[in-house]
């Protein structure tokens, strides 16, 4: 389908600009320009005044931590429905200097924007050809279609296969185009996606959304080579990633997003991995001094040890991780999404299939058994607060005491019937009142359903339940996700209080490095399912930035 805005002019345009790479002076014209883009979801601003431009044949990398706004930006460029269902955005998108309105993926495609998605947008039950040509099938008219419209034209499979073959060859991929996608190794699916984008005859800008996240290293190299080939042909590329070596390996320009703002745009020749890492993380660290302890935790006294620990949690796989936890410390677990940090707590607590060794106080823990984990005096506050953490329509009281009832037989009284125990309503009520006061849960009373509480107060209920078990180790995952800033501080304070006052060892998993650095004694950074290294909270931004991107550092703390 020819684009309404650029009728067949594009081809001479980029050919004209073609020069061998290396000598290539990027042309003055821009393919895509973003001007002052601002977007908010439900009152939370996720993108603030973004300005960005991409030239033909340029590989423009966009880096940033999770939640920096990368995906939102891409969804916006590609006209994904999620943007418009949440109230659209402010600012202008220009293509070739002309303002355009992109309100659906279809429009984006017509404008020559292609997207290689993070999660594969391929239909497994279709062949490579069918996927490449999805909704752009080559058809032949027939008798029925002449009467009833072009929808009934028959598919021209030989022509479709020929085109697919060409697209695959452009990528240097020697693979049978009639193979079913379900039979392809994961690494190849990415290439099929790219083939689909370049088969679009008007492709001018291709967005790669973390394309190497699921690839092995050799596959990633091939992918980068393929990207360079495309750029040589004049196609502009937006490359979203958090792998800094890849950025340095292929991009011409690098934009760094942080907290929804475009911090800086650099050219590759003028920067270094270190500088990018620093800009990516760089926040003013507000670390107020924490209360001291009688004895500081040390490696002499370990409470928990993980050896060759593996967890099969989809998307957050842990692959042979080793970790030592000191008695009485607050240990932070950080890292990017998908690297496995979330899997650790879920695996230890028996919520996802785990293998390896977990040794608590010298005793090997029985894995894949939530009850065993709870009986070993460990408690878990899940990252999925509303799904796993709370019974939303039950009262605060029930939510707080439920696990204690189930695992420790607390809050129960005997009846005259042998073997039958009933809930001791009064004990529950008294206890809940006390804990509501202690933790400052803002509510109308113990009987209020938790669904009506704010995120911060819901999180406190979760913490109260875990606390009621009097655990020796408290696992907390993403304790401040989805709650407002004021409440965040309260939740963190509460964790410090648990630690200092009751001597609980706390293992806190969080995507927000900043909050880990605020309260943790040590921070373990997880990369590809293993601990990349352990840093002190006052280590430099640069070290943190490098380590979450999987770079080994010389000066680790023990």
């Amino acid at each position: 389908m020819s684009s309404p805005v650029f009728p067949s002019l594009w081809r001479p345009l980029w050919r004209h600009n073609y020069l061998p790479r290396g000598v290539l002076q990027l042309p003055e014209s821009t393919v895509l320009e973003l001007k002052n883009i601002t977007k908010s979801y439900f009152g939370v601003t996720v993108l603030k005044g973004i300005n960005l431009s991409v030239k033909p044949g340029e590989i423009h990398a966009i880096v940033g931590e999770n939640g920096a706004g990368k995906s939102t930006l891409m969804n916006l460029i590609f006209g994904m429905p999620v943007i418009h269902e949440t109230g659209g955005f402010e600012g202008d998108i220009l293509m070739d200097g002309q303002p355009v309105k992109i309100s659906s993926p279809r429009q984006a495609m017509e404008l020559g924007i292609g997207m290689v998605h993070q999660e594969f947008m391929l239909i497994p039950g279709f062949t490579i050809t069918e996927n490449i040509k999805l909704n752009r099938e080559i058809t032949k008219p027939n008798l029925a279609s002449k009467v009833l419209g072009s929808g009934l034209e028959t598919l021209d499979f030989p022509a479709m296969r020929k085109d697919s073959r060409q697209a695959l060859e452009k990528l240097g991929l020697a693979i049978d185009e009639s193979t079913f996608v379900s039979r392809l190794p994961v690494g190849y699916m990415q290439f099929v996606e790219i083939a689909r984008e370049i088969d679009k005859k008007n492709a001018r800008l291709i967005v790669f959304d973390e394309p190497t996240a699921v690839l092995a290293e050799s596959e990633a190299d091939q992918l980068i080579a393929a990207m360079k080939r495309l750029a040589e042909q004049g196609i502009a590329i937006l490359f979203i990633t958090h792998r800094l070596d890849e950025v340095m390996a292929c991009s011409d320009t690098i934009s760094i997003l942080r907290d929804g703002e475009l911090v800086k745009t650099l050219t590759r020749n003028e920067t270094s991995v270190g500088e990018i890492a620093e800009l990516m993380v760089g926040r003013k660290l507000e670390r107020s001094p924490l209360p001291g302890r009688a004895t500081e935790p040390s490696d002499e006294d370990l409470i928990l040890e993980l050896k060759d620990f593996r967890v099969e949690m989809p998307g957050e796989r842990v692959r042979g991780l080793n970790l030592k936890v000191r008695r009485g410390e607050i240990l932070g677990i950080g890292g990017l999404a998908g690297q496995g940090k979330v899997g650790i707590a879920n695996g230890v607590m028996g919520l996802y299939p785990a293998s390896g060794h977990v040794i608590k106080d010298g005793v090997e823990l029985r894995l894949n058994d939530p009850k065993a984990a709870l009986e070993a005096k460990m408690a878990f506050v899940s990252e999925d607060r509303r799904g796993v953490g709370l019974l939303l329509d039950e009262s605060i009281a029930v939510n707080i005491v439920l696990t204690s009832i189930e695992t420790q037989n607390k809050f129960l009284r005997w009846t005259i019937l042998p073997g039958v125990r009933l809930l001791d309503q009064k004990a529950v009520h008294d206890y809940t009142l006390k804990i509501i006061k202690d933790l400052d849960i803002r509510c109308t009373g113990p009987n209020q359903p938790v669904r009506r509480l704010s995120g911060g107060n819901q999180q406190k209920v979760c913490l109260a339940r875990a606390f009621s078990l009097h655990p020796e180790i408290l696992w907390v995952s993403e304790p401040t996700r989805g709650i407002d800033i004021g409440a965040k501080q309260l939740v963190l304070d509460l964790l410090v209080q648990f630690n200092r006052k009751y001597g609980m060892t706390i293992i806190m998993t969080s995507s927000e490095l900043n909050e880990l650095r605020r309260i943790c004694d040590r921070i373990a950074l997880v990369y590809k399912g293993k601990v990349a290294g352990i840093l002190k909270p006052d280590a430099s931004d640069r070290d943190f930035g490098l380590m979450i991107a999987g770079k080994q550092l010389a000066k680790e703390v023990g």
Partner: protein, 378 residues
């Protein structure tokens, strides 16, 4: 710089790679286990009932002609991912409305039948469009929604033909209407169009000793051709894509809702015609009941033919009609013979019809859960 060439050597070798489902034979047995089970059941029933082969073959020919079209009308929604279209009941009602009209007008024979087919189109397109609108708002719950819509439409149908006819809709036809002058009679005789299609072609040509409704089979054959051709068109490909993954289809620029709507409309129109073929063969119809079991029995037949909620072929439909209706014919007699009670056979048959739907729904839920799990692991 040039990229390293990616060679097929890095791909898993196709010849040595085992399919995940095991060997070819295992897979066929797995897919065909339901038809095989029912074929055995039919076989046992035939032996137990001890029917004359002539009677049996004659019955099966009649029932194949009568029901195949209805069952085939279910295939396209399955391809488009809408599951089993319980909404064809609504199509059946449109067909009946058309029959009532031509009977009232007194047009009979093949012209009457063709006119009924034509009249049923605007009804079924409109109702199919409405059904599609509702189903597009109930994604993932199409089957139960369609089922309940059938009941709802039944209410409207009764309102029109029991209350409005003779009051708001002026009509005067003592043969069709109740003596009060309001509402239609319970049964309507279709003498005028009785076997209008069945006997339209080569009426005198017999297949051995059996009379064959050639024209009906020709129409069924045409529908088979249309269905298989349709899946190879642009629109058919869109439906397959929508059926496999709505989200990906949407991102590829396919108008998902429109595609689903078209699938339902086609199915509803075919359902209306299917009901016409069914009723012209029977020769009479219960004004307020004939359509009620259409959805259930057609769906049971399709499932017995080895189809599932996400996969159905022409062969599933034809084989299903054959098996389901063989069982229909033999089970009362088999029950009579074995236990002396014909009701047992009848009970057994309807037990199987509903049972097979339940089992098939449960199996589908189980398989799609397994699929999600293996996708997570992969």
């Amino acid at each position: 710089m040039t990229a390293p060439k990616i060679t097929p050597q890095t791909l898993p070798d196709k010849t040595t790679e085992k399919t995940p489902q095991g060997s070819h034979l295992d897979r066929i047995l797995g897919e065909m286990s339901v038809p095989i089970f029912f074929a055995l059941l039919c076989f046992i029933g035939i032996i137990a009932a001890d029917l004359s082969p002539r009677f049996l073959v004659n019955e099966i020919i009649t029932r194949l002609a009568r029901n195949s079209f209805l069952v085939l009308s279910l295939i396209i929604p399955v391809i488009a991912g809408l599951g089993l279209n319980f909404g064809i009941v609504i199509g059946a009602m449109s067909g009946q409305a058309a029959l009532i009209i031509i009977t009232h007008l007194g047009i009979g024979g093949l012209p009457g039948f063709l006119l009924a087919a034509l009249i049923s189109v605007p009804f079924s397109v409109t109702l199919g469009w409405l059904t599609g609108q509702v189903l597009n708002r109930a994604k993932g719950r199409e089957m139960v929604t369609g089922y309940i819509l059938g009941f709802f439409a039944n209410g409207l149908y009764q309102l029109v033909f029991l209350v409005l006819v003779g009051t708001l809709i002026p009509m005067n036809n003592p043969k069709l209407m109740l003596s009060s002058g309001i509402g239609l009679r319970n049964t309507i005789d279709l003498i005028a169009v009785n076997r209008a299609l069945d006997n339209a072609l080569f009426n005198s040509v017999k297949l051995g000793a059996f009379k064959v409704p050639w024209a009906t089979f020709l129409v069924i054959g045409l529908l088979c051709l249309f269905t298989s051709y349709f899946t190879k068109t642009k629109l058919g490909q869109q439906m397959r894509a929508v059926g496999q993954d709505m989200h990906i289809a949407e991102v590829s620029g396919i108008n998902v809702n429109r595609t689903r709507l078209i699938a339902i409309i086609i199915s509803t129109v075919l359902g209306a015609w299917g009901q016409l073929i069914y009723l012209q063969n029977i020769g009479t119809f219960n004004t307020y009941n004939s359509h009620e079991q259409v959805g259930m029995f057609s769906i049971a037949a399709l499932l017995i033919g080895g189809a599932s909620i996400s996969k159905a072929t022409i062969w599933n439909a034809l084989l299903g009609v054959l098996l389901f209706h063989t069982l229909f014919v033999v089970s009362p007699l088999a029950g009579q013979r074995i236990l002396g009670i014909p009701q047992v056979g009848e009970y057994f048959r309807s037990f199987l019809a509903y049972g097979i739907i339940a089992v098939s729904l449960a199996l589908h839920a189980w398989q799609s859960r397994k699929k999600v799990e293996s996708k997570d692991k992969g």
